[in-house]
Amino acid sequence: MAYDVNGTTVEHDEEGYITNLSDWSKELADVIADAEEIEMGEEHWAVVNFLRDYYEEYQIAPAVRVLIKSIKKSMGPEVGNNKYMYELFPYGPAKQACKIAGLPKPTGCV
């Protein structure tokens, strides 16, 4: 199980989350997004970048509410709301956006 990024293989688990977090690159994000049938636009990148910054500081993805609050601040309420987040990432900003951002899958009753 691996993604192919310009000829380099990047291992992932059964669900498409990359095994080695340091393998992440912007090119890889596009490849994962492609596999998820998502076309990365400016708003998708805003979410992915926030997730990665947050992860760097806290070693875990933020609660969806925290993510939305931040996006609302940076991109306005039209983008920073729950409904729109699900339009961007139909399988949910927590799991699908984390996968594209190269972060581990949130586990538990979530």
């Binding site: 669900e15 875990i60 609050k69 949130p106 586990t107």
Partner: protein, 514 residues
């Protein structure tokens, strides 16, 4: 009951029968398997990393050990008379039509092997008594079908002998774990809890940042500085709540509700970063040792923080473990204040506050919702609540009715002790089982559609993190929005008005006054 097409003119419109028995479809779910655990998920739990070479010998010995040490398990294996009362009680059978999801058939996957090795007839005349050898195919079949049981125990209520399929499912998973065949979802989570204190893997710094963020939200909303304290030594109450309450929707709204209630009650309370999880997946995998280790963290946190009381947040199976097993797993709790229930459920706390008039409530703030309530299986059939029999059914409803004007129950055979599982309990709340989860949710969803049709119900409240996540994912498949499931304390949070909080109505009046 009326059929789908026979909607009476002017009468209640009939949308379907949640109890409808499907046509049998042999093997319908035989290829539905949950991801297997890797060695790094199994080993921290004390299990072999991979399938043992002598797995057959170990599994048979483990089964014998369980039957010798657990009287209930042995009685359940010995007494079934195949009366069939349980056959149509399982939501996974009703949703899939696979006969191996009939509780009796599910039990027999294990019972037939037990008979072969541990009964006289099975040892000498296996063909006469339906006894079979433990082969790799049988082991695989166990893995498949014991991970299509959410251990909800609806079938146990129907059994005239009281046979509890959940106990058999737990034992089967324990045997599987003992030979190195674990489930990724449960075992990865338990391993994570042992490292970080919760299922999510939320470290203390991240937890503190999340809670601060939520305090900000509360202050923005109410104008009052409501605290969500973390690791406060000497607080009176330790709140043990599922970590989903720090992360997911609508769970977080429930947490904000607890904070408002504690604030209004004027008690001192705290969350612990060491025991930042109510959930105890040790129960799902039938592992006493893991269940005990997870529970022990709660005792340790209570001692370290020097609290007087322990209150549990909205988490279904956690409340079963807390109410029914915590004292034997991690007791005695003689260092806590004996004047309060040990442990206490947040709903008991809130109802007491409501009944003693300590909360200022404006029910009309929930008028946009027409509510129903989903009894979570582990609360309904594995615990009690409050001071009266049946409190686990009545206390949540009393709280909802105290904060909402519009409430209607679903059909009687689908609620209270007969409640249907949400379809995601017992360690099945994982994306790789989504097909099963959707099918298993069908009976509950059909009952909901009925009450929506008959009474205009728009939202369903729950008190279990698993139920809330499961419904928010599957409700869109049944014509609802993901936010049509709500936390009970979300409704409380909406209706409670804090001391000094300016409401919109007051602000409007103030503006009108010259």
């Amino acid at each position: 009951m009326a059929s789908l097409d026979m909607n009476a003119e002017g009468g209640p419109k009939f949308v379907g029968d949640p109890l409808k028995i499907p046509a049998i479809e042999c093997g319908a779910m035989m290829d539905t398997n949950t991801f297997a655990a890797a060695p790094e998920h199994n080993e921290p739990l004390g299990f072999p990393g991979e399938l043992l070479d002598n797995w057959q010998e170990v599994a048979i010995a483990k089964m014998g050990e369980l039957a010798a040490n657990n009287r209930a398990f042995k009685v359940y294996l010995d007494t079934c008379v195949k009366c069939g009362a349980c056959t149509d009680k399982c939501h996974y059978f009703l949703g899939t039509g696979d006969p191996k999801n009939m509780p009796v058939a599910r039990q027999d996957l294990l019972r037939s092997v037990y008979r072969r090795y541990y009964t006289f007839a099975g040892k000498y005349f296996p063909w006469l008594v339906g006894a079979r050898d433990l082969t790799k195919d049988v082991l695989d079949e166990w893995y498949t079908y014991y991970h299509q049981c959410s251990q909800c125990r609806r079938c146990a209520v129907a059994c005239p002998y009281g046979i509890d399929t959940a106990e058999i499912s737990m034992a089967a998973r324990e045997i599987l774990d003992s030979v190195g065949v674990g489930q990724k979802y449960c075992n990865e989570i338990i391993a994570k809890l042992k490292k970080t204190g919760n299922n999510l893997g939320l470290n203390p710094k991240a937890l503190a940042a999340t809670l601060e963020d939520l305090e900000e939200d509360l202050e923005d909303e109410t104008g009052i500085a409501v605290k969500i304290p973390l690791d406060v030594k000497g607080a009176d109450i330790l709140l043990i709540t599922p970590s989903a309450d720090f992360f997911a929707e609508p769970h977080i709204d429930g947490l904000l509700g607890y904070a408002k209630v504690f604030h209004s009650a004027g008690v001192s309370w705290t969350i612990s970063s060491y025991a930042s999880e109510a959930a105890n997946f040790g129960m799902f995998i039938g592992s006493y040792e893991n269940m005990r280790e997870v529970s022990w963290r709660i005792r340790q946190a209570a001692k370290d923080l020097g609290v007087k009381r322990i209150v549990f947040g909205e988490c279904g199976h956690a409340w079963r473990v807390a109410y029914s097993f915590l004292n034997t797993l991690a007791g005695p709790f003689d260092f806590l204040d004996q004047n309060y229930p040990i442990p206490q459920h947040i709903l008991e706390f809130t109802l007491d506050e409501i009944e003693s008039g300590n909360l200022k409530i404006d029910k009309s703030r929930n008028d946009e919702f027409v509510m129903t309530y989903h009894d979570s299986c582990n609360v309904a059939r594995g615990s009690a609540m409050g001071r009266k029999e049946g409190g686990q059914f009545d206390v949540p409803r009393a709280v909802i009715k105290a904060v909402c004007n519009n409430f209607y129950d679903m059909e009687r055979d689908t609620i209270r002790e007969n409640t249907f599982c949400c379809g995601g309990g017992g360690g099945l709340l994982t994306d790789d089982l989504m097909d099963l989860r959707i099918k298993g949710a069908k009976p509950r969803m059909t009952a909901l559609q009925q009450v929506s049709e008959d009474h205009g119900v728009t939202h369903m409240a729950a008190i279990c993190a698993i139920c809330k996540t499961q419904f928010s994912k599957v409700m869109p498949k049944f014509g609802y929005e993901m936010d049509n499931v709500m936390s009970v304390h979300q409704l409380v949070a909406n209706a409670v008005i804090l001391d000094g909080q300016e409401t919109e109505a007051e602000t409007a009046t103030a503006e009108e006054t010259p």
